[in-house]
């Protein structure tokens, strides 16, 4: 793979459990390229979310190397990892995690405020993002007034508004029905194609797996398979 945006080498992650420790990821070696639409699949407790967290610099590996966009995650300062997340990474969560006191527009605008983007540019970026997810008419609604599917689309718009290099989506369809799940996946696939944004999913939802171009299977913290899917 040429110029991977994420490079993981002999990475392990352990969590202390009393006097011993639990090895959540064992000697993982993976590369992710630009524009990939990849999923990390596996049963609960297999280490999917932990791997996503390390890639997203929300956590650091216990051993090994994780390089994201050329930056070694374990070497980053707190400020440095915040900077990496705010500029280059987008997150989508299972429970949407929208700010309840903000309306849709403000939720989507929030990452741009962190980047100190000029108001005019910000407005255009937010409206574009809302258009990608088909929610321009809900710009003034509060999250409490939206359905689960709409909330997740707002979360996608929020993740995409700064046009990040990489989006990390942790079980994005787990709380959605089939129709909404497919709608969300279609949206993300379109964005992936249009902007060449890389997506890495952590999922065990077959509907998501069907969309993936590459499926990495984790079991008990070990990569057991890494397959490319054609026709996804």
């Amino acid at each position: 793979m040429e110029d991977p945006i994420v490079r993981i080498k002999n990475m392990s992650k352990a969590f202390p459990t009393g006097e011993s420790e639990f090895l959540a990821l064992k000697n993982v070696n993976l590369d992710f390229g630009k524009g990939e639409f990849t999923g990390i699949v596996g049963p609960s407790g297999s280490g999917k979310t932990t791997l996503l967290n390390v890639i997203g610099s929300l956590d650091t590996p216990t051993s090994g190397e994780v390089e994201v966009l050329g930056l070694e995650v374990s070497q980053l300062s707190q400020k440095g990892s915040s900077e990496l997340r705010s500029r280059h990474l987008g997150f989508i969560f299972q429970t949407y995690n929208l700010l309840p006191v903000y309306d849709v527009y403000e939720n989507v605008e929030f990452p741009l405020l962190l980047l100190k983007m000029a108001p005019n540019e910000r407005r255009k970026a937010v409206m574009d993002a809302l258009e990608w997810v088909g929610l321009t008419d809900k710009a003034q609604s509060r999250p409490a007034q939206l359905s689960g599917g709409q909330c997740q689309r707002v979360a996608i718009a929020r993740a995409m508004v700064k046009k990040p290099t990489l989006v990390l989506a942790d079980e994005p369809t787990a709380n959605l029905d089939t129709e909404n799940s497919l709608h969300i996946l279609d949206t993300m696939q379109k964005i992936n194609a249009a902007l060449s944004t890389s997506f890495i999913f952590a999922t065990h939802d077959q509907k998501v797996i069907n969309y993936l171009h590459r499926v990495i299977k984790l079991i008990d913290g070990k990569v057991v398979s890494d397959d490319t899917q054609t026709g996804a």
Binding site: D59, S82, R85, N97, L99, V101, L113, R158
Partner: protein, 389 residues
């Protein structure tokens, strides 16, 4: 961005925010009211003492010590030559003190006799009532408190006995020409006022004075080696000290109220950080630094104080206005402390700088109290926060 989000969060917090703001606002209204009261009382008491006792300054005979009764008999000095023309011109008022004994209705009472020129115009003291033209007795003025304790009334005659400068006892028959409403208790309690000339005559001290009350401070420059200038700081020291003591006493309940208000803020912030862990995790994932998140939560606490300050000023305004216009009658019992400022309704003035200082202090205190629980965020791992742990 942080302030906007903080503001939205406290609005979104609904009743909990409202209760916090209400508690702090009530404390602030109480503080502003209290500060208004003490400041106004102190100002009124000082003004009254200036008008009735201090004038533009006082020169006191060095041989007289107000705190040592043994000095009172000989606590006087001749009016200095340089001051004589000012005395004649009415710009300096000599007052002579003498301990004495009065016999109202045959009873015996100690009294401090003070002689003041009946034609003086420097003090608000009603000395014209000492004019002896219509009386065969020496006219005397006493205050309401003295009238109560001596049971003397206007028109009543009583005997005064005192020592003259040779040590011989002399006596005078006095008639109460006026029972005055004096706002300065020290001029009233245990005191009998007669005309200076009459007192000097009976004391055989034709030119003596215990204090020289000056019309203005420029007269302090006159040469008076047997007198000492009592500056305002020294003169009002007791009053200032009393107010300080009173304020300290009052600050305990206010301190408790402030503590309660701060506890409410602390509790709300601690609860918010516990309940909003997922939000903290999400903000971290979006790229907010821990410092920014701590600032967000601290700002929320500080905004309670800002909102409460606005409420305290706006909602408390009718109360402040009422006490400024209608006034507040202080308990008469306080007059027995010998402090001025209790004989008329106290109209409040609000010391803006002191109030502003108090608000700023409380604002900083609220910021600190909000920051205390927010520090925990620094130790929170984003991955655990995202899981709500």
């Amino acid at each position: 961005m942080i302030l906007k989000l903080a503001l939205r969060n406290i609005i979104g917090n609904g009743w909990r925010s409202l209760i916090n703001v209400a508690v702090i606002a009530i404390v602030l209204i109480g503080l502003i009211w209290g500060e208004g009261m003490w400041y106004s009382w102190l100002t009124l008491a000082k003004n009254q003492q200036r008008e009735w006792e201090y004038g533009g300054g006082i020169l006191r005979a060095k041989s007289y010590d107000p705190f040592d009764a043994f000095t009172w008999e000989n606590g006087y000095a001749p009016v200095p030559a340089e001051a004589q023309s000012y005395v004649r011109g009415g710009r300096i008022v000599p007052i002579l003190y003498s301990p004495g004994m009065i016999y109202p209705q045959g009873r015996m009472m100690n009294a401090l006799v003070k002689g003041i020129p009946e034609n003086q115009k420097v003090l608000s003291f009603p000395s014209t009532a000492l004019n002896a033209a219509d009386s065969s007795y020496v006219p005397a003025i006493i205050g309401r408190e003295m009238a109560k304790t001596s049971r003397l009334q206007e028109g009543e005659v009583f005997t005064l006995r005192l020592k003259d400068s040779t040590g011989a006892f002399n006596s005078l028959d006095l008639q109460v020409s006026k029972v005055m409403d004096c706002p300065v208790p020290s001029l009233d309690i245990g005191t009998v006022w007669i005309d200076l000339a009459a007192l000097r005559k009976v004391k055989l001290l034709p030119d003596a004075a215990t204090v020289l009350v000056l019309k203005d401070a420029s007269l302090t420059a006159i040469k008076a080696p047997l007198f000492r200038y009592i500056d305002p700081r020294e003169f009002f020291a007791d009053l200032n000290q009393m107010v300080k003591t009173k304020v300290s006493g009052q600050s305990l309940p206010f301190g408790m109220l402030i503590l309660l208000a701060m506890l409410a803020v602390f509790d709300t912030q601690a609860l918010a950080i516990f309940k909003r862990r997922k939000e903290i995790g999400m903000l971290s994932a979006l790229g907010m630094t821990k410092g920014q998140i701590i600032r967000l939560f601290t700002s929320e606490g500080a905004l309670y104080m800002v909102a409460a300050s606005v409420c305290a000023v706006v909602l408390g305004f009718p109360l402040y206005w009422y006490f400024a216009v209608k006034g507040f009658a202080l308990p008469q019992g306080y007059q027995s402390f010998g402090v001025a400022g209790f004989n008329e309704p106290l109209k409040f003035h609000y010391p803006l700088l002191v109030i502003l200082g108090t608000l700023i202090f409380l604002f900083l205190l609220t910021v600190f109290v909000s920051w205390l629980p927010a520090r925990k965020i620094a130790r929170l791992r984003p991955t655990e926060a995202l899981r709500g742990k």
